[in-house]
Amino acid sequence: MSETLKHIVNYFSAPEWSFTIFSVLFIWALFQRWIWTRQGVIIAMVAISVALGWALQDANFRVTLLKPDNAPIFLMIYLFSFFLWMAMLQAHNNDRRMEQRLPPEEKETSDQKTWVWPDLVYIELLCMILCTVALVVWSITVRAPLEEPANPANTPNPSKAPWYFLGLQELLVYFDPWFAGVVLPSIIVLGLMAIPYIDVNPKGSGYYCFKERRLAILTFLIGFFVMWDFLIPIGTILRGPGWNVFGPFEEWSSHKVVALTNVNLSEYVWVKAFYPLGQAIGWEWLAQGLPATDGSLSLANITRVFKKEFAGILILAFYFCVLPGLLARGWLKDFCERLGFARYSVAIFLFLTMATVPMKMYLRWLVNLKYIVDTPWIKF
């Protein structure tokens, strides 16, 4: 029974399954008022603990999870689940109040003032004491990790970044380092900074709510919980030697060989579509196969690169240059009018860039797509 369950968990923890299941459940759950109750959080906390407790019975999972620097991941899972509940409970509560034409709960005391001394100072002191106690207990019970002395000649397999960057490292599977390691993090930081300037919705300032700012909250929570936080345990627990996927109850074997069958879009176009088509209708130009290219900057070569990658270049040009305009005229017309041209351009660029992450992940899982555009100089 337990073994069967472990096999099932191993199977469904592969990123294509677990990411899908988690995203769907997460987004669905945000709308379910009955989940965000006091009983709900107790059940969730107990469920997480039972699941972890059960999983830790397994030797392989213990080895993976109890690695020295994984302690913060426990803390993160508990704290983030708890405070997600804390936020959504108050958000749904305020939504309910506003449906009954009551002001948000915070409003009841927001016009009153409280003395900093002693009321606020007292709360802060208690928080500091509790935090200190927790930190001291944690420090006494769990030793700080210290591995073998640094040895540049001995590369551990897998080599992992600090835990909070493992979501980004996980994206290296789907993107090249220039994007996942440099450009995307920069866009994330700039995008976070841009939030107050592109969110022009005046509602929901200074109190918890969900209904009044669904788009903003959904975007942020999907970015924060699904794309950043969820990928951290994926990178920590499921990625073993060779950065291959291992189920939580699977032994990390460095002999596991996963066939790399990833295919570029240009190959799909020229080899798998055009070639047989050209042969069938007897048009030689279509049946030429993948145009050969090299790294030189001669006009002839650049032309060949464009010819080889035309589909990907057209798709990206459409996605980033044409689609925003089409959306502004159609589906997002109101949104665009509210934001104005400059804000809309920034916002839609950030949305679309954010969306490339799951899209590229699914393209990899569904059709083994490697690069949409693969030039000798830049690959995406």
């Binding site: 803390l75 006494i140 939030i195």
Partner: protein, 260 residues
């Protein structure tokens, strides 16, 4: 009351009055004065919105992030007394801190505190987002907060290298290799090969973004020194300046947020 006299002697003494100008804060006037007259407390106004004091509104996340920063400063300074940032000595100093100090938990406090700070800073951002507290007039303070989040990651990241064990150098190798892929500025990044004059590349492993980060072509003693200075001096100072702006702006932008 038998203790009345010694109590009064202490409370009325010149020493006590010179330190705490205000007596027992039992009136509103004294409550104001005690906050105004104390350099630490005067980060706060004398009165705050009642809804903003509630723990379920703020989670005390911002306060705890700052508190953890202070804990890390204190434990970090203590660790600096014993730690020497060289390739030969860093690791033995770590072992000494672990083996030779009875009941020593400073390194544990520092390491777990650092992880906790990363988590708490993210939670603070989450809370501020969910309460819409970044909305006007607090837009700019959110921007400062994002910068502080980045500095928190950088502080943690630079500190990660200092034990100079396998965990440290390989995590930093993975991280710093990303700089190699910076467009135009990293030797392996897209576009870098076009930056050349007369066939001589301008961007190569000896001067690219990764070199700037680790101070050499490969991780080594100079990297350790560089990360040590960044970790102990440069980034904490930058964070302190931004924190000062962050706290100042909370008050200037109307204090803790609340519904209009």
């Amino acid at each position: 009351m038998p203790l009345e006299k010694p109590k009064n002697t202490i409370l009325e003494s010149q020493v006590k009055k010179s330190i705490f100008r205000v007596g027992i804060p039992n009136t509103d006037r004294k409550r104001v004065l005690i906050v105004l007259g104390n350099v630490f407390l005067h980060l706060h106004p004398t009165k705050v919105r009642t809804s903003g004091v509630k723990l379920r509104f703020t989670w005390c996340a911002g306060g705890l992030a700052f508190f953890l920063f202070l804990v890390l400063t204190l434990t970090g300074v203590l660790l600096m007394f014993y730690y020497r940032p060289t390739v030969d000595l860093a690791y033995p100093d770590m072992v000494d801190l672990r083996e030779q100090v009875p009941f020593g938990i400073m390194r544990e406090m520092h390491r777990w505190g650092a992880h906790a700070m990363v988590i708490v800073v993210m939670l603070h951002m989450f809370r501020v987002f969910m309460t819409g507290s970044y909305k006007p007039p607090r837009e700019f303070n959110w921007v400062i907060g994002v910068l502080l989040l980045v500095l928190t990651f950088l502080l943690s990241f630079t500190g990660y290298l200092l034990p100079w064990d396998q965990l440290a150098i390989w995590a930093i190798t993975v991280g710093s290799n990303m700089a190699k892929a910076t467009p135009f500025l990293g030797a392996g990044g897209p576009g870098a090969e076009f930056l050349q004059i007369g066939g001589v590349p301008l961007i190569h492993p000896g001067d690219d973004a990764r070199f700037l980060l680790i101070g050499a072509k490969e991780l080594g003693g100079i990297t350790l020194n560089r990360f040590y200075v960044l970790h102990c001096i440069f980034i904490p100072l930058a964070a302190a300046v931004l924190m000062a702006v962050h706290f100042w702006r909370i008050r200037k932008d109307g204090g803790i947020s609340g519904p209009m």
